[in-house]
C-alpha cells in the first residue's frame, strides 16, 4: 500500500532490501556449494585415490579381519593388572609434576601478577603454546632419548603436555580476579609474595584444582600410549600383542584401557564433587 500512495522512496528501499536478501542468499548457497566441492575433492584425493582398495578387499573380508579381534583373550587378564597400575600411576605422577611445573608458567603468563609483564607475559604464553602444540608422542620421543626407557620419560611427557592447558586456564582465571583484593593486601603492607599467597591463591585455587583433575582424566589416556614409544604401561602391552598378531589380546588391552578410563572418570567425578 505504501507504494500505491506514491512513496517511490519506500518502494526503492524495500526493493533494495529484497535485492540484498537475494544476493545474501545466493552468496550463502555459493559458499555451501564451494564447501561441498572442496570436501568432495578432499574426499576424492585422500580416500578414493590414495587407498589401496585391493588390499582392503570386500566388506566381507574387512569384517573377517575385524572378527580376529573377537572375542577378547581372557587369558591375558592377569598380565594386564600390572600395566594398568603402571599407566594409572604414570598419569598421576605426570599430572602432579605438570601441576607443579605449571605454577611458574602461570606466574609469568598472567598479565596482572607477572614480575615484568611485557617480557614475562610473552615468555609465559610462549611456553604454554609450545607445551600444548607438541603432541604427547613427540614429548615422549624426546624424553625417551634424554632419560632412557622406562616410566620416567612417560611421566615427563605427560607432565610437559599438561603444563600448557593447566597454565592457560589458570592464568586466564587470574587475569579475571578481583583487583581490589590485591590492592587490599598491598595496602596492608604485603609484599608481592604475600599478595600471591593471600589475594591470588584463594581466588584461583578452585579453578586450578578442577583443571588439574580434568587434566588427570585426560592424562590416563595419554599415559596409555606411552608404551608405544618405549615408556611402559598399557601401551607396551598393546604394542607387543600387536607385534605378535594376537588380535584377541589387543582387544583385551583395549578393554583394560576402557576400564581404567572408567575408573578415572568415576574418581575424578567424586573428587570434583567434593571440591566444589
Amino acid at each position: 500500500m505504501a507504494a500505491a500512495r506514491g512513496s517511490s522512496e519506500g518502494v526503492r528501499r524495500s526493493d533494495a532490501i529484497v535485492a540484498r536478501r537475494r544476493r545474501d542468499r545466493m552468496r550463502r548457497y555459493g559458499l555451501y556449494l564451494l564447501a561441498f566441492v572442496i570436501l568432495a575433492w578432499v574426499f576424492h584425493s585422500t580416500v578414493v585415490e590414495a587407498t589401496d582398495w585391493a588390499r582392503i578387499g570386500s566388506l566381507g573380508s574387512v569384517l573377517e579381519t575385524l572378527g580376529r579381534f573377537l572375542p577378547p583373550d581372557l587369558s591375558l587378564a592377569p598380565q594386564l593388572v600390572q600395566p594398568m597400575i603402571e599407566t594409572f600411576m604414570m598419569a598421576l605422577l605426570g599430572t602432579l609434576l605438570g601441576a607443579f611445573l605449571s605454577v611458574p608458567v602461570i606466574w609469568l603468563g598472567a598479565y596482572n601478577i607477572a614480575p615484568f609483564a611485557p617480557v614475562s607475559y610473552a615468555i609465559g604464553r610462549g611456553l604454554m603454546t609450545v607445551s600444548r602444540s607438541v603432541h604427547e608422542l613427540v614429548w615422549a620421543l624426546i624424553f625417551v632419548a634424554a632419560v632412557g626407557l622406562g616410566a620416567l620419560p612417560g611421566i615427563l611427557a605427560v607432565a610437559f603436555r599438561s603444563i600448557g592447558f593447566i597454565a592457560k586456564i589458570t592464568a586466564e582465571a587470574i587475569e579475571n580476579i578481583d583487583r581490589r583484593s590485591l590492592e587490599a593486601i598491598y595496602a596492608a603492607g604485603g609484599n608481592r609474595l604475600q599478595v600471591l599467597r593471600y589475594a591470588v591463591m584463594p581466588q584461583v585455587l578452585p579453578t586450578f584444582t578442577s583443571v588439574v583433575i580434568f587434566e588427570w582424566d585426560i592424562n590416563i589416556r595419554r599415559a596409555s600410549i606411552m608404551g608405544l614409544v618405549g615408556a611402559g604401561g598399557l601401551g607396551l602391552t598393546f604394542y607387543r600383542q600387536m607385534a605378535m598378531f594376537n588380535y584377541a589380546g589387543v582387544t583385551s588391552v583395549i578393554v583394560a584401557i576402557l576400564v581404567l578410563i572408567g575408573i578415572g572418570e568415576v574418581v575424578s567425578y567424586l573428587l570434583r564433587r567434593r571440591m566444589i
Binding site: M89, L92, L96, L137, G232
Partner: protein
C-alpha cells in the same frame, strides 16, 4: 555483653580438631601414594638431576641445525597438504556423527533415556577413551597404510572430542524453551530443531572449529603409525637417526599447529561476537 575472655586467647585456626586431622591424614596418604608410585614404577629420580642440561646439549649437538631444505621439499609439502585434508575430512565426518550422538547423550533432551542415552554416552566415551594413535594402529591394521585409515582414526577422535563438549553444552540449556516446544506437542526431533539447536548453535559452531584445530594436531601424528600425513616422515627420520631432519619436521609441526590454533581462536572469536 560478655567478655570474650576464653575464646580470645585461643589461636585462630581455619580447620578445627577433627577436620584438621582428616586433612592431615589425607595429605599423608597422598604423599605415601606418590612415593609408592615412584617406587612401583622404578623411577630413578637421580636421572632427573641433569635432565635439563642433557636435553639442551643433546638438542644442540644432534638436532641443532634443522634441515630446512628437507621440509621445503615438494614431496614433504604434499604430505603436509594430505595432513590438512585428513583433518578437514575427519572433522566433517566426526561432527556429522557427533551431533546425533550428543543429542542422544544429553540427558535432558535425549529421545529415549533408557535406550539412546546409554548408547550415546557409551559411543562418545568409548571413542574418547581410546587414544587417537591406538585408533590409527587399529585402522591401519584393518585397512592398510594410507590416509583413509587416518581419516577414520581422526573421525573417532573427533566424535569423542566434539560429542562430549556438545552434549555438555546441551545439558546446560534453558529448560523453559524445551518445555515450551514440548507443550505444543512436538516430537523429540522437533524439540531438537526448535528448542535445542537455536540455543546451542553458537556454542556448537565454536566447538566445531575447536574440534578441527585439535584434530589437526592429532593428524600430524597419526602418520607415525602409517595412517597418512606428515607423521610418516617423523617416523622415517627418527628410525633413520636423521636427527636434523627430525628437528625440522618437529618445527614444521609446531608452526602449523600454532597457525591452526591462531586461526581457530580468530574464527571462534568471530563466531562468538556476532
Amino acid at each position: 555483653m560478655t567478655a570474650p575472655s576464653a575464646t580470645s586467647r585461643r589461636r585462630w585456626r581455619r580447620f578445627r580438631y577433627p577436620d584438621s586431622l582428616y586433612r592431615f591424614a589425607a595429605l599423608l596418604l597422598f604423599l605415601v601414594l606418590v612415593f609408592y608410585a615412584l617406587d612401583y614404577l622404578n623411577v630413578h629420580l637421580e636421572r632427573l638431576a641433569d635432565v635439563g642440561g642433557r636435553v639442551a646439549v643433546f638438542l644442540a649437538e644432534r638436532y641443532y641445525p634443522p634441515d630446512l631444505a628437507y621440509v621445503t621439499d615438494a614431496d614433504y609439502l604434499a604430505y603436509v597438504g594430505e595432513t590438512m585434508q585428513m583433518a578437514l575430512l575427519a572433522t566433517v565426518f566426526g561432527l556429522a556423527l557427533a551431533v546425533p550422538l550428543a543429542w542422544f547423550a544429553a540427558f535432558n533432551v535425549s529421545p529415549s533415556r533408557r535406550f539412546f542415552y546409554p548408547l550415546g554416552r557409551f559411543s562418545i566415551t568409548g571413542a574418547r577413551a581410546i587414544h587417537e594413535t591406538i585408533w590409527a594402529i587399529l585402522f591401519v591394521n584393518l585397512l592398510g597404510f594410507g590416509p583413509f585409515a587416518g581419516v577414520l582414526a581422526l573421525t573417532m577422535f573427533s566424535i569423542g572430542f566434539a560429542g562430549k563438549l556438545m552434549a555438555e553444552e546441551v545439558e546446560g540449556i534453558d529448560r523453559g524453551q524445551v518445555d515450551a516446544i514440548r507443550a505444543t506437542g512436538a516430537g523429540p526431533v522437533q524439540v531438537l530443531i526448535y528448542g535445542v539447536i537455536p540455543q546451542v548453535k553458537v556454542a556448537w559452531t565454536g566447538i566445531a572449529i575447536y574440534t578441527w584445530d585439535v584434530a589437526f594436531r592429532a593428524a600430524t601424528i597419526v602418520g607415525f603409525f602409517g595412517a597418512g600425513g606428515m607423521g610418516w616422515y617423523l617416523r622415517r627420520t627418527i628410525e633413520g637417526l636423521e636427527t636434523e631432519r627430525t628437528a625440522a619436521i618437529i618445527l614444521t609441526i609446531l608452526a602449523l599447529v600454532m597457525a591452526s590454533e591462531a586461526l581457530s581462536a580468530w574464527a571462534r572469536a568471530r563466531v562468538m561476537n556476532r
